[in-house]
């Protein structure tokens, strides 16, 4: 009987430790987008270069919409080369579209001058309308839309080459 009191220690420690341990690896903010499986929002918006781009100009090609900002560091800086490399690698098979998220165009141009401009279009999302339609919670966030205009996947947080390849596969790019 006297030794039973030692059981108290594992009885208290093990369940608490296990329970708290299970919390790792879950991101409480990683919310599945309700847009997945739905038609992507359509838009026609001015780009940073002063031209205009619309979803109807994407002519049935898969595209990705990347919400970013010059103040989003280090995440947007980290994923910037990943986006540039995807744009170069897939050429006409994939359209990369950047969207300024709550950012001043001049600051965004400074960012591109500093970290390299791969040449894809960046939309000036006045009033954050597009970000609202996509339900963006914070940059960087990237939506993957297939050739039929259906949202297939979403990346919350910075993309890496591996994540990019995996997400692109969902819209039939790169296989």
């Amino acid at each position: 009987m006297r030794h039973l009191r030692w059981l108290l220690i594992p009885i208290l420690v093990v369940p608490l430790g296990w329970l708290l341990f299970t919390g790792f690896g879950r991101d409480p903010r990683a919310i599945a987008s309700p847009l997945i499986g739905q038609a992507a929002p359509t838009w026609t918006i001015a780009t940073l270069d002063g031209a205009t781009l619309g979803t109807d100009e994407l002519s049935g090609r898969p595209y990705i919409v990347n919400f970013w900002a010059s103040w989003c560091i280090p995440a947007c800086v980290d994923e910037h080369p990943v986006l540039a490399s995807a744009h170069e690698t897939y050429g006409d098979d994939l359209v990369v579209v950047g969207v300024l998220y709550q950012d001043a165009p001049a600051d965004a141009e400074g960012f591109l001058a500093r970290y390299g401009d791969a040449g894809y279009d960046n939309l000036v999302d006045a009033g954050g309308r597009l970000a609202i339609e996509y339900g963006v919670t914070g940059p960087p966030e990237t939506f993957f839309v297939d050739a039929n205009g259906i949202v297939r996947d979403k990346q919350f947080g910075p993309l890496t080459d591996a994540l990019m390849a995996q997400r692109l596969a969902s819209i039939g790019v790169g296989r």
Partner: protein
């Protein structure tokens, strides 16, 4: 402008490394001293602890300078500061996010350790080496976190031209300068009683020595924790814009949990000190309190539970989990090992006595702790077992905890009026007749006035009962003193209370709790709110107030043009009148707009106006209007609690300390051995 890669962050990082080295040395020195080594080891250990405090201070200053000079080569600065951030916000950004908080935490933790070890440098020679070793081990953990997973001085390359700016919620109200430091002072300070408990268990010096020392060292952090919780509730009321002050958010619970067990400890320690009872219980409460401060920090900062406070996913979580498991398992092992030394030397006492009131008090506090812990961890448990996401909301917590709080309120009146040992029926009748009558009269009165909400009426009745018991106690004591010493009533009351600071300080704390309890019951029972949509010039009414929407303004903030404010300018008339602006602020780094409610406070009620939505074209606004009665009394009650506790720990004049003033105690000198 960003100043590039200066020396300051390198100095900060070096200070952290030095702090780690000194703390590790202190741990080794104190363990050797405790095991009977050269006494000079203890002296050098103490100096190392003081050195680690200086190192942490240098680290904090380096971080503040980096923030003030917007040195974006430091990742923490780039993530929590921008060139437009005003100096005040830059300074308090030290605790705006995880890594800086840990640095600040280390400063406070080493500060407490240095203070305690310095103060008792020539006393308690058996206990202090173990106290030093325990505190050094705890501080070693914080320094190690800063050296490995949570380096506050981590550099970025390339250096960003502009930083992310401070978390939107933190820059929206000056209370953010107050609430985290108070909480951290409480959390870190509660390591001191834990260290003394470990020392007492390790050395088998389980008499009242350590309890007498830690009484004050528990009350001081308890005061900070209490004020931190109240300030957090106030902040949430003034900033979050939902009209309430307590939402049972996991992080609020995280602060409440150690507060509950610390409060239980403060009460059971009195029994342990005076009557040698409840010793195992008291030691367990100290251990639980410390472990719960770690669990609280873990829940708050690891990002495991989603809340306003979980800013980051980070690698620090596993470290905290290891610290929780090690400290809980270690302390429990020591406790179980010493169980035979702790058990069974308490004197017997009657069922109706102050001891049993204290025991009930502790059982209730522990029940509350379990209930709150269960509700907080249940979403985690469900996610782990079934993968579903659930949330345990305020209604559950209210249903479970309100009856326990009410029972505690009742005990608060009964407990202090009962004698130690055992109470007779006659004593009970004599003590409680007037308070019961007073409570019945007041309940009848408010019912007659039309108050019907059962929780409000019940709480009010109980509060009157408790206040009457305490008032009666003071009057009796003062009268007895006035008779025997020939003092006038005012002088007698003053002397009675200032020479029994512990008792009457405790009563004052209880008065503060009563004020808060009544204010919470009335404000949650009788608050009114409505949502209105108004075009310019239109008027709505809420309670006795008339609210007129004057105009809608959308403009950047004067001190930071990146923050866009949409503000409804409103005039109000009624019990209070004037004009106010209630706004939504759009921060560039916040995914959602941040409410900036307008609160107009009077002693009777708050008028609370939040902007929900607006239409720029028509200038129409949708406002959420609240009239919250008595809310200001919650903050006043919190201040009374803090003041009472300060009164209780204020040093008594030693020469007069031997006098026994209380009539009831004087009649029972045999039980006074503390």
């Amino acid at each position: 402008m960003a100043t590039g890669t200066g020396m300051i962050p390198s100095i900060g990082h070096a200070a952290v490394l030095i702090g780690l080295g000194l703390t590790a040395y202190a741990l080794v020195a104190y363990v050797l001293a405790a095991r009977g080594g050269d006494p000079r080891l203890g002296i050098s250990g103490r100096r190392a602890v003081i050195g680690s405090f200086v190192a942490a201070a240098v680290g904090c200053v380096a971080m503040m300078i980096s923030l003030l000079t917007h040195d974006f080569s430091v990742l923490y600065v780039a993530e929590n500061n921008a060139t437009s951030t005003p100096p005040f916000i830059s300074v308090i950004s030290l605790w705006a996010a995880l890594e800086g908080s840990i640095l600040f935490w280390a400063l406070l933790a080493t500060g407490w350790a240095a203070l305690v070890l310095h103060r008792y440098r020539d006393r308690h020679r058996q206990l202090i080496p173990w106290v030093g070793a325990t505190l050094a081990a705890i501080n070693l953990f914080f320094f190690a976190v800063m050296v490995w997973p949570g380096n506050p001085f981590l550099r970025t390359a390339p250096v960003a031209a502009e930083g992310l700016g401070p978390n939107a919620l933190l820059q929206n109200h000056p209370f953010m300068a107050l609430h985290p430091p108070l909480l951290y002072l409480g959390y870190t300070g509660l390591a001191v009683p834990f260290a003394f408990a470990i020392a007492a268990l390790a050395t088998k010096r389980l008499d009242t020595e350590w309890l007498r020392i830690v009484r004050r060292w528990t009350l001081i952090p308890w005061i900070f924790l209490t004020l931190g919780i109240v300030a957090g509730a106030w902040w949430s009321y003034e900033v979050l814009g939902w009209g309430g002050y307590w939402a049972w958010d996991p992080v609020e619970n995280a602060a409440l949990l150690p507060w509950l067990t610390a409060t239980a400890f403060i009460h059971s320690a009195m029994v342990a000190e005076r009557r040698s009872g409840l010793k195992i219980w008291t030691s367990a409460m100290v251990i639980a309190t410390f472990v719960l401060t770690l669990v609280g920090t873990f829940l708050t900062r690891s990002g495991i539970v989603a809340s306003v406070h979980s800013f980051t996913q980070s690698a620090i979580g596993p470290w905290f989990l290891a610290a929780i498991v090690i400290s809980l398992a270690g302390a429990l092992t020591l406790l179980v090992w010493r169980l035979p030394n702790l058990a069974g030397d308490g004197r017997p006492s009657g069922t109706v006595s102050r001891e049993s009131a204290f025991l009930f008090n502790n059982v209730l506090f522990l029940g509350l702790t379990f209930a709150v812990l269960f509700g907080t961890l249940l979403p985690l448990l469900v996610a782990a077992t079934s993968g579903d996401t659930i949330s345990v909301g305020a209604p559950w917590f209210n249903t479970v905890t309100v009856p326990i709080f009410i029972a505690l309120l009742f005990l608060m009146g009964v407990g202090p009026a009962l004698p130690w040992g055992s109470a007779s029926w006659a004593t009970a009748r004599e003590r409680f007749a007037i308070p019961v009558i007073a409570a019945v009269v007041v309940v009848g009165l408010v019912l007659a006035l039309g108050l019907r909400d059962p929780a409000s009426v019940g709480t009010l009745g109980l509060a009157v009962f408790v206040a009457a018991v305490m008032g009666d106690e003071v009057v009796r004591g003062a009268r007895a003193r006035g008779r025997t010493r020939d003092e006038n009533p005012a002088l007698a009351t003053w002397r009675l209370t200032t020479r029994n600071r512990r008792r009457y300080g405790g009563y004052t704390v209880h008065v503060g709790v009563l004020v808060m309890a009544v204010a919470v019951a009335i404000s949650s029972g009788l608050a009114t709110d409505r949502t209105v949509t108004l075009a310019p010039g239109e008027t709505a009414t809420i309670g006795a107030y008339e609210i007129t929407h004057d105009r809608l303004v959308v403009e950047p903030l004067a001190n930071d043009a990146r923050i866009i404010e949409t503000r409804a300018e409103v005039t109000y008339s009624g019990p209070q009148s004037g004009s106010l602006g209630t706004a939504l602020r759009d921060y560039p780094n916040s995914p959602t707009v941040v409410a900036t409610p307008a609160v107009r406070t009077s002693l009777a009620e708050d008028l609370y106006v939040t902007l929900l939505a607006s239409d720029a074209a028509t200038q129409t606004v949708t406002l959420h209007l609240f009239v919250n009665p008595l809310v200001v009394w919650i903050w006043i009650g919190g201040a009374i609690v803090g003041g009472g506790a300060v009164f209780a720990i204020w040093p008594e004049r030693r020469a007069r300390r031997v006098t026994v003033e209380h009539p009831q105690r004087a009649a029972r000198p045999s039980v006074e051995n503390a």
